[in-house]
């Protein structure tokens, strides 16, 4: 707070833009309210400034407004992923940077924006981890906010790794929802699969995505066969079996690729063994079983 105060004093004194005395008084009044901890009154006062034609160009006004709303967010809205104060804080700091060609306040505003962008990310993860089927899609909006702000701060940044991590985690979250009630939450299987597709678009050799996609198809096919006891005759068995085997066939190329990338990973070897066996490719399955035993021996050694 002290640092902010001293920066503001310097800005007031050396600002090339001569602030209208009335505007300056209003900014100081808003700042005093902010300093006294009355954030709502401070917000009302600073809003009056930035809504005026001259105040709208004041980097100091926007800078203070950014901190006022940041503190409103921290104090009252930090548990609200849809906090309006947070949006206002970011908007204000961006306006400050836009009106600060000399760059006097840019570093501080950028730091504030960085802090707030991470809070978007944290909120996205929190929603994802809650695994509420009705709310989970909101995580994407928050992650996109984080992403947009990061690109605003660092336009040249490559977010591929961050995106891959996020999509994998979202895939897991949707899969867990699906596994809670596979009949009711079938749409979440599709979402989970879509996120894995997005990972593979970014990184076609991503082992975790290849393995997960294969298991996801295999498990879906295997689970579908649980409907067989309710089959209404042989034709119905054909239909259910056909759907299942198609899903299990889809699983094979992904597991093969996962195995090619990391032939020493026992999960892929076990996966291939199981898929081959269920596709009645018994020789291939037996080969994988031998490899599995060899890998287990290596682990013991």
């Amino acid at each position: 707070m002290k640092k902010l105060f001293s920066i503001l004093i310097i800005c007031f004194i050396f600002s090339p833009v001569i602030l209208n005395a009335q505007i300056k008084d209003k900014i100081e009044a808003a700042y005093a309210l902010y300093n006294a901890g009355d954030f709502e009154a401070a917000a009302a006062a600073i809003n009056e400034v930035v809504e005026s034609p001259k105040g709208e160009k004041s980097k100091v006004a926007w800078h203070i407004r950014g901190f006022i709303y940041k503190d409103i967010y921290i104090q009252n809205e930090h548990t609200d992923p849809y906090s309006k104060a947070r949006n206002e804080a970011i908007f204000s700091h961006k306006k400050c940077i836009e009106n600060d060609p000399e760059g006097t306040l840019v570093a501080q505003s950028r730091n504030a924006i960085t802090y707030l962008s991470i809070s978007y990310y944290n909120d996205a993860i929190e929603i994802m981890d809650a695994r509420n089927p009705k709310e989970i899609s909101e995580a994407d909006k928050l992650y996109d906010q984080y992403r947009d702000i990061t690109l605003y701060l660092y336009p040249d940044s490559v977010l591929k790794n961050s995106d891959v991590d996020y999509y994998l985690a979202m895939s897991t979250a949707h899969r867990k929802i699906y596994e809670r009630d596979r009949g009711k939450n079938e749409a979440n299987w599709e979402f989970s699969n879509d996120y894995l597709t997005r990972v593979l678009e970014l990184d076609p050799e991503n082992w975790a995505a290849l393995y997960s996609k294969s298991v996801s198809y295999y498990n879906k096919g295997a689970f579908n066969l649980e409907r067989l006891p309710e089959a209404q005759g042989i034709t119905d068995i054909y239909r259910i079996e056909s759907e299942s085997m198609r899903s299990i066939e889809f699983a094979l190329p992904y597991m093969m690729k996962a195995y090619e990338i990391h032939p020493d990973k026992i999960e892929a070897v076990k996966g291939l063994k199981t898929i081959y066996r269920n596709l009645n490719k018994l020789e291939e399955s037996d080969e994988m079983q031998i490899l599995e035993l060899q890998l287990e021996d290596n682990i013991k050694d």
């Binding site: 960085t114 899969r175 975790a208 298991v215 006891p229 009645n280």
Partner: protein, 176 residues
């Protein structure tokens, strides 16, 4: 450089994601499918009157996964008014009364002797090994174009006074 360091800091300090690899459902899908077929065979075949009372018995020789699946999913079901009962048999020629006998590939060498022992009894023999129909099996599973189907050898059923319904015949991969 400062910018890069800050970005690295930013990305590295984000919370750890809850990404977990899925576990495979270790299911014997062939056992699931064959169990369903056996149940439907039971519904589509007519047994002689003497076999229409008491429990409807499906005996499984070998193939413990198929036995488990039948017990788990079909033990409480009925064929007409008969309660299904699933029995597990070790390889033997001493086969007690049952309606369906599934002979797994582990015991397939005994099939000719089993068929001979059961030739006068209305017991449907089901297998999943090529050549079994020549050795007394009436229905044999075959894996064709990625799916389990069955071939029916009508004589091996009718000789035992089993009446095979038209649906079972028409949906067979082949009727010999």
């Amino acid at each position: 450089m400062k910018k890069i360091l800050l970005l690295i800091f930013l990305v590295w300090n984000l919370p750890v994601h809850s990404q977990q690899l899925p576990e495979m459902d270790e299911k014997d899908t062939a056992a699931l499918i064959k169990a369903s077929y056996l149940y439907n065979f039971a519904k589509l075949i007519d047994w002689p009157e003497a076999y229409k009372s008491g429990n409807f018995i499906i005996s499984v020789m070998g193939s413990s996964n198929l036995h488990k699946e039948l017990v788990k999913k079909y033990n409480s079901k009925q064929i007409g008014s008969q309660q299904i009962e699933i029995r597990k048999l070790s390889p033997t020629l001493n086969i007690s009364k049952c309606h369906i006998l599934y002979v797994g590939s582990e015991s397939i060498n005994m099939l000719p002797q089993i068929a001979e022992t059961l030739k006068d009894k209305p017991i449907l023999i089901v297998t999943d090994y090529t050549g079994s129909l020549e050795n007394g099996s009436a229905l044999n599973f075959e894996f064709v174009n990625g799916q389990w189907r069955y071939i029916l050898k009508l004589k091996n059923a009718t000789d035992k006074n089993l009446y095979i319904g038209s649906t079972l015949k028409s949906l067979a991969l082949k009727v010999e």
